[in-house]
């Protein structure tokens, strides 16, 4: 530990209290990964500020000392976005979990970043709810949701985090405190608020968040229909959507995921079904009822093997239990899996599924498929056994080709998990050098020294040129280690 580090740690202890600065090796290990365990880095220290002023003091200290940092919510992300940097600090927002204000009259909630997603809906019930519902919603935090622009099963109809954030209080990487937006929507000028949401912790730390909430729908109707194949079920999805129905959620599982989930949950899904399609409609009683009958009719005409309609909340929970357990249940199929988060235009489903099947054969790996079918967000789970030499590498290569197939079909490398460290190598599949250069301009306006979550999102390190002023070559650039944009 050098003199500078001792000084920084003393400053941090003074700012947040020594008991909220973690430096012990064993304790640091708790923070070495987020939800994606294959990436693990031990940070120099973990700080747990308890207020906006403390976050500001911590970030300022890092700025003065030239130390990079990574902000972290619950650490449930699936792209390695909260993986620490070895030479830097991890700033955990887990102590900042107050609901600052519930303003039902204006349908707004103001929260600190460490508040969990589910806590927002709980705070505004029984008449209102907060729609974005990532499946980790019991633990994941609003601060993390803002960083990742989290979605969830209901986002086809209700949208993503970005559609519900109306204001942010931010600590910028130089320690400056700014507020973007507030309770009101549409503040004049460029939508900086929107640019911050989904920036994966690379532009600053949100210390207070204003959220919009909406009335709960009057009625919810849920069914699960079973089909011979995902392609057949995919045609049903297209027919539902093209008849003008916007389901609250529409989710699909293939045979492999049905088998895994059923073995785990006993939800009563037939294990010989080629595909399960969960359709949930919500809205007013009259609208929901009429449309639900239409959906049942579409499923019947398409030759569904069986249809189960939830008669009550308990049956609805049972239908959802299998879908929600799909990831966790994969352990029954293989010791390890590699999950992708690609998106395709829904109409290309058959073609992309064909390609995934072909890749599974070619690489001799089992691939289970779970989709958010309405918005074309696929979660192919490439199963492998990490104890077999070379199999993990083969799975990763196969997963990479799946991503490529999705981008080639006009899609995206990630629908909701974020780029983080895990998908940054795929960024050039979607974005040209000029596109990445434009991203970098935004990054540099917020964080010219690139100390906020460095090494994430962008595929290769890029520098921020001095603005304004003459061109100067950075040592990294001279060494050929980075490009300038």
């Amino acid at each position: 530990m050098d003199g500078g580090e001792v000084e920084l740690l003393a400053e941090l202890s003074a700012a947040v209290g020594a008991e909220h600065v973690v430096t012990h090796e064993h304790q640091l290990r708790t923070y070495e990964s987020d939800g994606l365990l294959q990436y693990a880095v031990t940070p120099r220290a973990v700080v747990l500020p308890g207020s906006t002023a403390e976050v500001q003091a911590v970030v300022r200290a890092c700025h003065r000392a030239g130390v990079p940092w990574v902000a972290r919510g619950a650490g449930s992300g699936l792209s390695g976005g909260a993986t620490p940097v070895a030479e830097g600090l991890l700033i955990s927002l887990s102590r900042m979990r107050s609901i600052v204000e519930v303003d039902l009259a204006n349908q707004r909630v103001v929260v600190e970043p460490g508040v969990t997603n589910i806590a927002v809906s709980q705070a505004v019930g029984p008449d209102h709810f907060y729609p974005p519902d990532p499946s980790s919603q019991i633990v994941c935090t609003i601060g993390g949701n803002v960083a990742e622009n989290s979605g969830g099963a209901h986002c086809f109809k209700y949208g993503f985090t970005t559609n519900y954030v109306t204001g942010l209080e931010l600590v910028l990487p130089d320690g400056e405190l700014v507020q973007l937006g507030g309770k009101e929507i549409d503040h004049p000028g460029p939508d900086l608020l929107g640019a911050f949401v989904g920036s994966e912790g690379t532009l600053g730390v949100a210390t207070k968040i204003w959220l919009r909430i909406v009335p709960k729908p009057e009625a919810v109707r849920t069914l699960v229909a079973f089909f011979g194949s995902p392609i057949q079920a995919g045609e049903v999805v297209s027919e539902i959507v093209s008849s003008g129905i916007v389901p609250g959620a529409i989710e699909m599982m293939d045979n492999l995921s049905i088998k895994a989930a059923e073995g785990y949950t006993n939800a009563g899904y037939p294990t010989d079904a080629g595909a399960a399609l969960v359709v949930e409609l919500d809205g007013s009683d009259a609208e929901c009822e009429t449309r639900f009958e239409e959906v049942v009719g579409i499923c019947e005409r398409a030759g569904a093997d069986s249809i189960r309609v939830a008669a009550d909340e308990a049956e609805r929970e049972l239908i959802w239990r299998a879908r929600k357990a799909a990831f966790a249940a994969m352990g029954r199929i293989a010791p390890n899996y590699y999950v992708q988060d690609s998106v395709i235009p829904r109409t290309r489903l058959a073609e992309v599924l064909g390609r995934i099947e072909e890749l599974g054969r070619e690489y001799d790996l089992k691939i289970a498929n779970v989709f958010h079918a309405g918005d074309g967000n696929l979660h192919p789970l490439v199963c492998y056994d990490g104890s077999v030499p070379g199999e993990a590498e083969r799975a990763e290569e196969c997963a990479g080709l799946i991503v490529k197939a999705c981008v080639d079909a006009g899609g995206s490398i990630t629908g909701e998990h974020g780029v983080g460290v895990d998908k940054k190598r795929y960024m050039p599949e979607m974005f040209s050098d000029a596109d990445l250069g434009a991203f970098q301009r935004l990054r540099c306006a917020f964080d010219p020294d690139q100390r906020a979550n460095p090494g994430k999102v962008m595929p290769t390190p890029r520098l921020c040129g001095e603005v304004p002023g003459p061109y100067r070559q950075h040592p990294l650039e001279q060494a050929g280690l980075a490009e300038r944009f």
């Binding site: 039902l104 009259a105 204006n106 349908q107 622009n149 949208g159 970005t162 559609n163 910028l172 009101e184 929507i185 549409d186 004049p188 000028g189 460029p190 939508d191 900086l192 929107g194 640019a195 949401v197 989904g198 920036s199 009335p215 729908p217 959507v241 093209s242 003008g244 129905i245 916007v246 809205g283 007013s284 609208e287 998106v343 235009p345 829904r346 109409t347 918005d375 074309g376 967000n377 006009g410 899609g411 990630t414 629908g415 909701e416 998990h417 974020g418 780029v419 979607m430 974005f431 040209s432 000029a434 250069g437 434009a438 301009r441 935004l442 306006a445 917020f446 999102v457 603005v467 304004p468």
Partner: protein
């Protein structure tokens, strides 16, 4: 209607537009059809660079409910295409004709559909822009769900062309509702108006529009419903309005009502101010409108209102809005308009995207 002294150019392709932007030595104002030039602060650009020549509907993927539009496509023309497939771009700002999709997004303009479907920021899923140095860059994509890379489209929404020129947008579409019906509540009390609006915004009903209107001592709350059971839902809303003390009626042929709401967001010669407020500010803002002889329309559930003063003391009205987050749109001839307030962060963005300060 070019600005006096400015050279006007409308390149026929995105590449030419980017090249012309890069080559420009002086100040440049980017515009679409120029229908909102009165919203711009006073300035005399040397070049007015119009996207009107970029008017191709590049893709309409009906099955995916998405489309790719060049910036200069008039919204009305795009809507006609979508309508034939039973779809719409859920964006309905005041449009006397010709407003381009690029201009609407750059100005962050929206109409009554905002209540249900969001504004430009929520409907644009990808964007291609030309930066001041001629760099052509894109963000987002063509799918509705996508978190890869920074969301530059948001940054350009509401930027009024000061960070670059929007060349192309990808948008999310929605199905056209099979039928609509509107519950209308009438009142002469700003207090009851606010109460009626709050009753609907907090109801468990799925409204495609929730608007209010106040003009010359009379107010209206309008709750619009779309769907197979539009009428049944509107009847529920009608009951809620009646319970809130308003005189309520149900209007089946409701389009003219909504057209009037949209039209009140523009004034051919007077003043229009957009106020970003809260639902609970409605009573106060209706009072402001009443005092100044202005018309108020807006999205009650969102707290987003437009005050229109065709004839009267514009500066006195603006003074009364002190303390509200507001943006002056249309303004009477001769009324000066300061550039919108900047801050350190915006200044740094401007330096990165337009270091020479070319785009005004």
């Amino acid at each position: 209607m070019a600005t006096a002294g400015a050279r006007r150019s409308a390149p026929a392709s995105a590449a030419e537009l980017a090249a012309e932007l890069a080559a420009a030595a002086g100040t440049v104002r980017v515009l679409g059809a120029g229908t909102k030039l009165r919203w711009a602060p006073d300035a005399s650009p040397e070049l007015e660079l119009s996207t009107a020549g970029l008017d191709r509907i590049v893709e309409h993927n009906a099955g995916d409910l998405t489309a790719v539009l060049e910036a200069g496509v008039p919204l009305a023309r795009a809507q006609e295409t979508f309508r034939q497939a039973g779809q719409m771009l859920a964006l309905d700002p005041a449009d006397a004709g010709g407003s381009t999709i690029g201009g609407i997004v750059a100005a962050n303009d929206s109409g009554p559909l905002r209540a249900r479907y969001g504004g430009p920021r929520d409907l644009v899923v990808g964007m291609r822009v030309a930066l001041a140095d001629g760099t052509v860059a894109k963000s987002g994509g063509k799918v509705i769900k996508n978190v890869a890379g920074y969301d530059l489209a948001k940054l350009f929404t509401g930027s009024h062309g000061t960070l670059g020129a929007i060349l192309e947008v990808s948008v999310r579409l929605h199905p056209l509702p099979p039928a609509t019906a509107t519950a209308v509540g009438h009142t002469h009390s700003p207090h009851l108006l606010a109460g009626g609006a709050a009753a609907l915004s907090h109801a468990r009903l799925e409204q495609m529009g929730l608007d209010v209107r106040w003009a010359a001592g009379a107010g209206m709350v309008l709750g619009r419903f779309g769907g197979v059971a539009a009428r049944a839902q509107a009847e529920s809303a009608e009951r809620l309005l009646r319970d809130a003390g308003l005189e309520a009626e149900l209007v089946a042929a409701d389009e003219p009502l909504w057209q009037a709401q949209r039209e009140s967001q523009r004034s051919p010669e007077g003043l229009v101010v957009r106020v970003s407020a809260l639902q609970t500010d409605l009573e106060q803002l209706a009072g402001v409108a009443e005092r100044h002889g202005a018309t108020l329309v807006g999205r009650a559930g969102l707290g987003l209102f437009w005050l229109r003063l065709d004839d009267g003391d514009a500066s006195a009205l603006l003074e009364d809005l002190d303390g509200f987050v507001s943006l002056t749109l249309d303004r009477p001839a001769g009324m000066a308009l300061e550039p919108p307030p900047s801050n350190a962060l915006l200044a740094r963005l401007k330096e990165r995207f337009d270091p020479d300060g070319k785009l005004i």
